[in-house]
């Protein structure tokens, strides 16, 4: 082919120019490749390593470090590849303490350092692990599903593996999860793993026997103004809607099993309010209830109760609460009919609320109003928490929350809230605080959460991932809850021991004394006596063991069951076959008072601190094997024990045990056994009276 002619020349020109252009274009990519961000960080880190090297070995290591992508590959964790360590180079290097980001070492947590090659980075912090540029790695790019979690919410990630409500060392998350269960989120929102949630809200059957319509209307209008501690939210209903709901609830038939008009207990005539007052304080009601905010708060506030309930209902309830609510946490005291009447009259007299509406006669409404009320009751999701006569239609009127933590921000409805940053945590917090601010017609009521509660709830929501983590990473909810067996179980249920005490990790957390190894800890005789009249063991606590007025035979049975069954074989019985030698006791006394200063927290003979349990008569209460085992490492037996672990050697622990077991009681046990009145103890005087 000849190379002459104008068209050929033009072609050659085109060819040369385009070749040069292509060459330049081709060079762009390798150049960009060469100037990747992590190279700069790695070079800077190398300089820092060289400067901080204190040995020849460290110097050699620093010199040998080559520039390149670094990664943590986790085939077992959904094939995660985290290249964060390409820039965050000092995460495991203590020498980098004080260095700026991205070089500084990771702060200490239960999983760092040490578990980095098990969890990587993204499992906790989110972001995009495979990325090697700053913006991409932190997930701050359009449409990346999980941008990096703000540090204040990192705890939420603990909850992806730790499936239980209580997550060790993640207090806010645990708080949030407990709160979710308590306030009733699961009544309206479905969440995988929480299908068998049980509401704490009372069954509404028999409402007309319990209270009066005016009070009910006032309550629905604003539950918090009648009882600030309630979790019942404000549904923002109009006055007409409230009247309809009240009419509906009033139209329900009374409970047939509670015939209060002919109940032998409920019809007891006028009680003695003064005696009731004494009973109220002796029974230590405020170990659980509050009166004007004072008290433990795990049971309802009582100050307005006199304006709420009918006398017949209250008398019958005090006599046997479990007849009213089979799942109540309230134990069944051994009150006689007269006790209940006295107590009820005291409460009705004392705990009235001047702002509550006066009792009005019964209510009869048209069917139309009742039907409208029922419609509102269902539409608002009341039946999500409240059953009526054991019937619940499983409201679930809210959207499912499973996987909410992995919802991409592009799929969130911000509605009117243009003030919010476009981020999931902010959206969740706003939803929790003010759910109806997003658009009109939303159903979620207003709970009035504090800022702290909002943060805790947001944390809990951010822990609800879409897909479960691999089984090897899951820390499951304890499989089988402990169920006390046989007759012991019957008594435990009747007295609701596990509302406060834990056995085998199951039960309430109100008491500081789990009963799992009670038989290895205390003496049978002491326990039987204690159940008759519980005395103060820990003066600092406001919540005290309540006197349940058990029959003698039941006390003896429980003590004997504990002695024989509630044991931990790791704890020896008695470590002194005979009485300990006086020299050993004396040595223990010195260790106690001089070396370890135990009296700073423990009181003996009215002297010493009141933080720890009283030690008067400790030998009558505790078994020496327990004292010894406890002293050797308190946290072995209770993870949250406040008593320091001094790392005692065997001889010191033995001597201390000998001394503690020899401390004499304040009043001889024989005296206490014959006295009918509660013994005056330093702690009892501190108890607040309503």
């Amino acid at each position: 082919m000849s190379a002459t002619g104008p068209s050929s020349h033009r072609l050659w020109l085109w060819f040369s120019v385009s070749s040069v252009v292509f060459l330049v274009v081709l060079a762009v990519s390798p150049i960009k490749d060469y100037f990747r961000e992590y190279r700069r960080y790695q070079n800077e880190y190398r300089e820092r390593l060289l400067h901080s090297a204190v040995s020849l070995k460290q110097l050699k290591q620093a010199r040998a470090s080559a520039v390149g992508v670094r990664q943590i590959w986790l085939p077992a964790l959904d094939n995660h590849v985290d290249r964060c360590v390409s820039c965050h180079l000092g995460v495991e290097e203590p020498r980098m303490a004080g260095a700026p980001e991205p070089f500084r070492p990771h702060p200490r947590t239960p999983h760092t350092p040490g578990d980095l090659d098990r969890f990587g980075c993204v499992a906790c912090h989110q972001g995009q692990g495979r990325a090697t540029t700053v913006a991409e790695a932190h997930g701050r790019v359009r449409d990346w599903r999980s941008p990096i979690l703000p540090v204040r919410y990192t705890e939420a990630a603990c909850g992806r593996c730790h499936l239980g409500d209580t997550v060790p060392e993640a207090s806010l998350l645990s708080e949030g999860r407990t709160l979710m269960t308590r306030v009733g989120c699961f009544g309206c929102h479905k969440v995988a793993g929480h299908e068998v949630w049980k509401s704490e809200a009372p069954d509404l059957a028999g409402l007309s026997q319990k209270t009066h319509p005016a009070w009910l209307a006032a309550w629905i209008r604003s539950p918090r103004s009648l009882r600030p501690s309630t979790w019942m939210p404000d549904f923002q209903l109009t006055a007409g809607e409230i009247d309809s709901v009240v009419a509906f609830l009033w139209s329900r038939p009374p409970r047939a099993d509670l015939d209060l008009d002919s109940d032998s207990v409920a019809v007891v005539s006028k009680g003695d309010a003064d005696r009731g007052k004494l009973l109220f304080s002796v029974s230590r009601c405020i170990s659980c209830h509050t009166v004007e905010g004072k008290g433990n708060g795990s049971a309802p506030e009582l100050s307005g109760v006199g304006s709420k309930v009918t006398r017949r209902w209250l008398v019958a309830f005090l006599a046997d609460p479990q007849r009213f609510y089979p799942d109540t946490k309230m134990p069944r005291y051994g009150f006689s009919a007269r006790d209940a009447a006295d107590l009820a009259d005291y409460m009705l007299q004392e705990f009235t609320d001047s702002s509550a509406p006066a009792p009005a006669p019964g209510l009869h409404s048209a069917d139309r109003v009742v039907q409208a009320g029922e419609a509102i009751f269902r539409r608002a999701g009341c039946n999500g928490c409240h059953q009526i006569g054991g019937q619940s239609n499983g409201a679930a009127i809210g959207p499912e929350l499973t996987g909410i933590a992995d919802k991409p921000v592009g799929r969130l409805d911000f509605g009117r809230r243009s003030d919010l940053p476009r981020a999931l945590p902010d959206w969740l917090a706003a939803k929790v605080t003010n759910p109806r601010s997003f658009r009109d017609g939303l159903k979620m009521p207003r709970f009035g959460f504090t800022e702290h509660e909002t943060e805790a709830l947001t944390m809990a929501l951010l822990s609800m991932g879409r897909a479960p983590v691999p089984v090897a990473y899951q820390v499951p909810v304890r499989e089988a809850a402990y169920t006390p067996p046989g007759r012991f179980g019957e008594l435990v249920r009747r007295y609701r021991c596990m509302s406060c005490h834990q056995i085998g990790g199951t039960g309430g957390d109100l008491s500081t004394a789990p009963l799992t190894a009670e038989g290895s800890k205390v003496r049978e005789s002491w326990l039987a006596d204690y159940l008759r009249l519980p005395t103060t063991v820990r003066p600092i606590l406001e919540e005290r063991m309540i006197p349940l007025q058990m029959p003698d035979e039941q006390r003896a049975f429980i003590a004997s069951f504990a002695e024989n069954v509630l044991r931990d074989d790791r704890i020896p019985g008695e470590i002194f076959p005979a009485a300990p030698a006086p020299e050993e006791v004396e040595r223990g006394r010195k260790l106690f008072h001089e070396r370890y200063g135990c009296q700073a927290c423990h009181m003996i003979g009215g002297k010493g601190g009141y933080y720890g349990p009283l030690l008067d008569g400790a030998g009558q209460r505790l078994k020496t094997g327990w004292i010894y085992s406890w002293l050797k490492g308190p946290q072995r037996w209770r993870a949250d024990a406040r008593e320091p672990d001094y790392g005692l050697d065997d001889a010191d622990a033995r001597a201390l045990t000998a001394y503690v077991a020899s401390i004499p009681p304040l009043t001889p046990p024989h005296g206490a056994a014959t006295s009918a009145k509660p013994a005056i103890r330093p702690g009892v005087a501190r108890e607040r009276q309503p």
């Binding site: 390798p30 094939n79 990325a131």
Partner: protein
């Protein structure tokens, strides 16, 4: 450069290149007859056919783009697993860790877009030049099939990154197929290897994209080029097929 006579006349050389190099007419004919490439390409091309306004080089550009796509596609296959979570991760690897990986991906992506456009333009050019008329009517049909194959290659390649765009595009596309009466649902089932856009669909689209469709397109392109030559060479503007026939 002149190769030594002894080499050219050696048995090995002659077993590969059968004809001699002497510029005889016979050898010239043999060179065409025995060469794969030149067999498709006409032995003689008129200078006028090479002018840009004749064809705008659209067919040639398509062919070059196809070559680029084949080369870069083969390289991409070294980094790609057609399995469900891995496919998307492989995209990320290309983006973040493979040297010039993004460049490689873009070298496949942009030529793919360009090829669709250029093949369309090629069809328009042929249409407006009335080059579909006899004797080229069969080559027009082949061309239409090639256009379809190009579109199918583009569509099957769309699923492979396994991102949201891919997933929904294929969901929508296969649901459109389903809307066809009677045959729709079975065709969709056949395409997806099931009823959902999942792992089977990815594997099917991968095999279609990397093996079946490219083989089909290669065969038809060869036929297409060969037919260009057999049907009277490149057609230009304003010429009808019949008036041209005698000149070829």
């Amino acid at each position: 450069m002149k190769l030594p006579e002894s080499l050219i006349e050696s048995r090995v050389w002659r077993s590969i290149v059968r004809h001699g190099i002497r510029a005889t007419n016979r050898n010239r004919v043999m060179a065409v007859m025995e060469s794969l490439v030149l067999h498709l390409h006409p032995a003689r091309v008129r200078r006028r056919s090479l002018e840009a306004s004749r064809t705008y080089f659209l067919g040639a550009i398509s062919l070059i783009l196809f070559a680029i796509l084949t080369a870069t596609g083969l390289l991409l296959m070294l980094y790609y697993h057609p399995s469900v979570p891995q496919a998307y991760d492989d995209m990320k690897e290309l983006q973040f860790t493979v040297s010039n990986g993004m460049f490689l991906r873009n070298l496949h992506r942009w030529p793919a877009h360009a090829m669709v456009i250029v093949v369309f333009l090629h069809m328009l050019r042929v249409f407006y030049h009335r080059a579909y008329r006899p004797p080229r009517e069969f080559n027009w049909v082949i061309g239409v099939v090639l256009l379809l194959l190009t579109l199918l290659l583009s569509y099957t390649g769309y699923l492979l990154p396994w991102d949201q765009l891919a997933f929904w595009a294929v969901s929508v596309g296969t649901n459109m197929v389903k809307a066809m009466p009677l045959l729709g649902p079975p065709i969709r089932f056949l395409l997806l290897g099931g009823n959902v856009v999942g792992e089977n669909a990815l594997l099917r689209f991968y095999v279609l994209h990397c093996v079946m469709l490219p083989l089909a397109i290669m065969f038809l392109v060869a036929l297409h080029l060969w037919r260009v030559r057999k049907d009277g060479g490149l057609a230009g503007a304003g010429r009808t097929g019949r008036s041209e026939r005698g000149e070829a």
